[in-house]
């Protein structure tokens, strides 16, 4: 019996790797031609959730909001996390949602899971998406759920008996230094997982359990539809005014080319043995560093 219940929020994203990504002639992403995959940050979140499976035998739910084809992202997520249940929140009216409206759907979805008497102790999400989402959905969903939010988590362990979690967070204070903060929080919590997250399996027994669950996961993922629940707006019971375009405070007003995108560099050649040219080089260096216009 699982003494810990965990949910992971994931996102389907275009595969940006060379050989897979395709752009339209205006520079925008050609979504039809580009394969979709589980976002890399979502994959990290799944890895973090998998830790609860291996170490605490947690019951894992993976959820995403997206079009019907996003079920493949859930399949990949199951492969990584050995999830027991997959939830796809899918409805036309969700389309075009900004982060606040997306968080509304995810909150409702997770609450629905909880209504079935299954209190979710930890929710994981990626720290951001690579296709324009902004790292806002996680914290906003957390806030709407009323879960304590812990961002940029790089490692954690759970004290199941006392319903507590101890986590290390990596916080970068730009211009100063990085900080590793160790916090203790009461469950439930919402965690966004830092890309530097590392699971620590440091005994043979844990490693063997890791391998066992991974194998189990690949078996489950082959049959992922068996674990899949697809829910639309009505089934979720969301307020249509709060989701999709109507529920989004923000709109994309326009998209344009960044004018200052740098052209290919063309190196000016300088002969190192010519003192005169080195003198000019020194001048140039001083100019660049003093903020003079560089052409």
């Amino acid at each position: 019996m699982a003494s810990l219940r965990v949910a992971v929020i994931v996102k389907m994203e275009p595969d940006f790797s060379e050989g897979n990504v395709s752009y339209n002639s205006d520079g925008t992403l050609n979504r039809a031609e580009t394969k979709n995959i589980l976002g890399p940050h979502s994959a990290i979140a799944c890895r973090a959730a998998f830790y609860t499976k291996v170490i605490y035998g947690a019951e894992i739910y993976v959820a995403t909001m997206g079009p019907p084809i996003a079920d493949s992202a859930l399949q990949q997520a199951q492969l990584i996390s050995n999830a027991d249940n997959l939830y796809l929140f899918s409805d036309r009216i969700f389309a075009g949602a900004d982060t606040l409206a997306t968080a509304e759907v995810l909150k409702t979805g997770i609450n629905m899971i909880q209504e079935q008497g299954k209190k979710v102790d930890i929710v994981f999400s990626g720290h951001r998406a690579s296709d324009g989402e902004t790292g806002q959905t996680g914290p906003q969903t957390a806030w709407k759920l009323g879960y304590t939010f812990l961002g940029n988590v790089i490692s954690y362990y759970v004290d199941i008996e006392n319903r507590k979690i101890r986590a290390k967070r990596l916080i970068s204070l730009q211009g100063f230094y990085d900080i590793i903060e160790e916090v203790e929080a009461l469950l439930p919590v919402f965690i966004t997982v830092d890309p530097l997250y590392k699971a620590n399996y440091d005994t043979i027994t844990q490693r063997l359990a890791f391998m066992k669950h991974r194998k189990e996961a690949s078996k489950k993922a082959q049959d992922y539809k068996q674990y899949l629940n697809v829910l639309n707006a009505q089934q979720l019971g969301v307020d249509p005014k709060l989701v999709g375009l109507p529920g989004s405070p923000t709109i994309v007003y326009k998209v344009e080319k960044i004018p200052k995108a740098k052209p290919t560099r063309r190196a000016t050649m300088v002969d190192g043995s010519d003192r005169g040219q080195i003198v000019e080089l020194a001048t140039k260096i001083n100019q660049v560093l003093s903020g003079a216009v560089v052409e």
Partner: protein
């Protein structure tokens, strides 16, 4: 501290067989492998044999894994053709040695170790789990302690744990051997260095080119001037949709007049017959969108990459029976014609939209290198220390007799013998040297493979003499004249071999394994009797730096090699002999200079040499 009965260190073919066999005997064992995934640090020349010696019994791969090996194992091709070519520039004289290949063999498959060992691992892990054991990848053993009757294993990644027995299967550069002092590091005269490239070639093209069906495979061996004057030879093995092209050379010969290892494989790739074997239609990678802004260039490059990938994948499928069938059965295409038409369209688009041209060349996928122990010279006579049993390459056990180079099957045979010994010890709870180590030594000594490492097999020799019947005697030269005459008659051959075996293999070796045998005789043979083969193109052979750039590394921030004496002659030779050019010489001092190390161990003898930490270092895709 956690305790387990047995630890197997190293997840190559031998270690995995040990795990599988121990588990099938109902014993608990854990296998520790440094690579992130099993198989990704393993490479081999490329043929896995199953043998049926006339005298004695060996344990074969199918004995370990059962019938499923034949149904499911991702082997490449059953080798049905085995031909030796002697070369002199564009002249070639060929001798069919298929009978040598079939000698006392059930079968020989060409293999690529990444996929094959992954499969072995899957099976072995399943068996091991049932006994409370299993495979633990990504862990590097850093120390072994013998503490008050307890054996403790320390690793870079995990908390220490205790075991009752260890099977050391950590390869030719065994760190277990090094840590425990079980044996010396191997010397150059005990080793061969092998270098290999995997070349991409669609299945149907291989079939046509090598005159084989999909159920058959070919092995071509090369001797003569392609060896650039070294003792050794080249090979071309057909895989399913790739070809392994490699060269194996006596390390001592390389030490005496160092040649950059990649040049040896390059010489082979440049041979006219090999050129024809591996040629294909290859897109020319020119810089696209030159003069445009960076973003435009990127867009074009990404667009072209995507289309090229589509073309390449589809073409690979199209040129294989299974692939074509699959494309049609899954409903992606209605007919072969439709696939062909789609291929032509993409080809046309690549040409017109992106200006990509095609030419005849070859496609290299992966460069790799490995040391191969010559069991005749370096096998551990007593392959154990305390409660540690050494198997396969780690014990220096490999067969090297002329073209017969076998390691995988020897390792598997050792593995079964070691597993049996350990199992017996578990039952009696006695892991003493006398009870376990000696028992294992005796078993290994009884192995027909050990006999092959110890004595000349006159029947095997006869096959060569028969094959060489057509060769004019004067070519063979004065040195072998007497031997050949002696050997030609059945009775005398028996006597001669008996005499030679009495003398000892060791003393005969320099005579047989000479430049004369590997270089001069074959070259002259090709020169005088050979047919002219001229290739239709000149391959653009990949540079060593491109090859290194194509490899996948997870670089370990802690250097795993330390130079001991930067001025030693040995280290100076490493500047040339390191297959990935990790060494350079500055002011008479050798420095370790970059991260492209593929962990072959060529430099291990005079360096502090470890494998990188768990999950780090090289990860081969083919192996």
């Amino acid at each position: 501290m956690e305790n387990y009965d047995v630890a197997i260190i190293g997840g190559g073919s031998a270690g995995l067989a040990a795990l599988q066999h121990l588990s099938s005997l109902g014993k608990q064992a854990v296998l520790i492998e440094a690579a992130k995934t099993v198989g990704s640090k393993n490479i081999s020349g490329g043929i896995l044999y199953s043998k049926k010696p006339k005298n004695g019994k060996v344990f074969n791969v199918e004995d370990v894994y059962g019938e499923q090996f034949f149904h499911d194992a991702p082997v490449e091709r059953l080798i049905t053709k085995y031909i030796l070519h002697t070369t002199s520039r564009d002249k070639l004289y060929s001798i069919d040695l298929t009978s040598a290949h079939k000698y006392q063999a059930n079968f020989g498959y060409s293999v690529l170790l990444n996929s094959l060992n992954s499969w072995f691992a899957q099976i072995a892990n399943e068996s091991a789990e049932k006994q409370g054991g299993g495979i633990v990848p990504g862990v590097h053993v850093s120390n072994i302690l013998f503490d008050e009757g307890k054996t403790v294993i320390e690793t870079d990644e995990l908390k220490e744990f205790g075991v009752k027995a260890i099977i050391a299967a950590d390869g030719v550069n065994s760190e277990v051997a090094d840590l425990t002092g079980a044996r010396q590091k191997f010397s150059p005269e005990e080793l061969y260095q092998g270098v290999k490239v995997v070349v991409k070639l669609p299945e149907d093209i291989i079939n046509e080119r090598f005159e084989i069906s999909s159920e058959e495979g070919a092995a071509h061996l090369f001797a003569g001037d392609v060896t650039l004057g070294h003792i050794g030879g080249g090979f071309v093995y057909t895989n399913r949709g790739t070809v392994s092209v490699g060269a194996v050379y006596h390390y001592d010969s390389l030490m005496s007049h160092p040649t950059e290892p990649h040049e040896l494989v390059d010489a082979l790739l440049d041979n006219h017959l090999v050129r024809e074997f591996i040629k294909d239609e290859v897109p020319i990678k020119e810089e696209l969108g030159h003069g445009l802004s960076k973003e435009e260039q990127l867009k074009i490059r990404f667009g072209a990459s995507k289309l090229l990938k589509t073309w390449d994948d589809l073409r690979t499928e199209f040129y294989s029976v299974r692939g074509r069938r699959n494309l049609i059965e899954t409903g992606k295409y209605k007919s072969e014609q439709e696939i062909k038409a789609r291929l032509d369209t993409i080809y046309h688009d690549l040409n017109t939209k992106y200006g990509i041209k095609f030419s005849t060349d070859y496609v290299e996928l992966e460069y790799s290198a490995k040391l191969v122990p010559d069991g005749k010279r370096c096998r551990m006579k007593r392959p154990f220390l305390k409660n540690i049993l050494f198997i396969g390459d780690a014990a220096g056990r490999g067969i090297f007799i002329g073209p017969r180079i076998e390691g995988l099957n020897v390792g598997i045979d050792d593995a079964v013998r070691a597993a049996n010994a350990v199992s017996r010890s578990i039952e009696r709870n006695n892991f003493s040297s006398d009870y376990m180590g000696e028992f294992y030594t005796k078993s290994v000594e009884e192995s027909p493979y050990t006999r092959d490492m110890r004595e000349i097999d006159k029947d095997y020799l006869k096959i060569f003499l028969d094959a060489a019947k057509g060769v004019p005697k004067d070519i063979i030269g004065s040195r072998y004249g007497t031997i050949i005459r002696l050997m030609s008659s059945g009775t005398l051959r028996g006597l001669a071999v008996g005499f030679a075996n009495m003398l000892g293999y060791d003393r005969l070796l320099p005579l047989v394994e000479s430049e004369e045998t590997y270089v001069q005789v074959p070259t002259e043979l090709a020169e005088r009797l050979g047919r002219l083969v001229s290739a239709t193109y000149t391959p653009k052979i990949m540079s060593i730096s491109q090859r290194i750039a194509n490899l996948q590394y997870d670089d370990d921030s802690v250097s795993h090699i330390r130079i001991i004496d930067s001025k030693s002659d040995f280290m100076k030779k490493m500047v040339v002999l390191c297959p990935t050019k990790c060494y350079s010489s500055e002011n008479d001092e050798v420095t370790l200079q970059h991260e492209g190390c593929i962990e072959c161990g060529t430099c291990a003898r005079e360096t502090q040499w470890k494998h990188p930490r768990g999950e780090k270092g090289i990860a081969y895709r083919y192996g």
